[in-house]
């Protein structure tokens, strides 16, 4: 379960709540990304 440290992070292209497209590629060379998977909206975590 789950990818390991040192692996390449798979690219993704998803939409946020305002339906703007957000890709991992957008942050390459610019920012560290924290990608948090949580169960469902309105649940703690």
């Amino acid at each position: 379960m789950a990818l390991k440290i040192g692996e390449n992070a798979p690219d993704f292209s998803l939409r946020d709540a305002a339906r703007n497209k957000v890709s991992l590629e957008d942050f390459k060379g610019k920012k560290t990304v924290v990608l948090a998977f949580y169960l469902l909206a309105f649940t703690p975590g």
């Binding site: 379960m1 789950a2 990818l3 390991k4 440290i5 040192g6 692996e7 390449n8 992070a9 798979p10 690219d11 993704f12 998803l14 939409r15 946020d16 709540a17 305002a18 339906r19 703007n20 957000v22 991992l24 942050f27 390459k28 060379g29 610019k30 920012k31 560290t32 990304v33 924290v34 990608l35 948090a36 998977f37 949580y38 169960l39 469902l40 909206a41 309105f42 703690p44 975590g45």
Partner: protein, 87 residues
């Protein structure tokens, strides 16, 4: 990110007043699958937080189903370490 459709994400984002994007992996769950957190039997993603550096390499993996604070605390710590080491 979660598998919620956009309207749920929007309501959740407004309630939390967050300053980062809440992404929707609905309806294909492709990202949860490619990051190996998809649980087919439950039809839900596991609670996993990844820290990814500027080069696209995974630098941190936080897996804890019960203590949500560990996720933010450890992710922040790792992000700070990366920032410190790369300038």
């Amino acid at each position: 990110m979660s598998i919620d459709p956009f309207p749920s994400q929007g309501a959740f984002a407004r309630e939390l007043d967050v300053s980062f994007p809440l992404l929707s992996d609905w309806p294909l769950y492709q990202t949860a699958k490619s990051y190996d957190v998809w649980r087919e039997n439950l039809h839900l993603a596991a609670r996993v937080t990844y820290v990814i550096d500027k080069e696209g390499i995974i630098r941190g993996v936080i897996e804890n189903e019960s203590d949500m604070e560990i996720h933010s605390r450890e992710a922040l710590g790792i992000a700070r370490e990366i920032a410190g080491s790369s300038g």
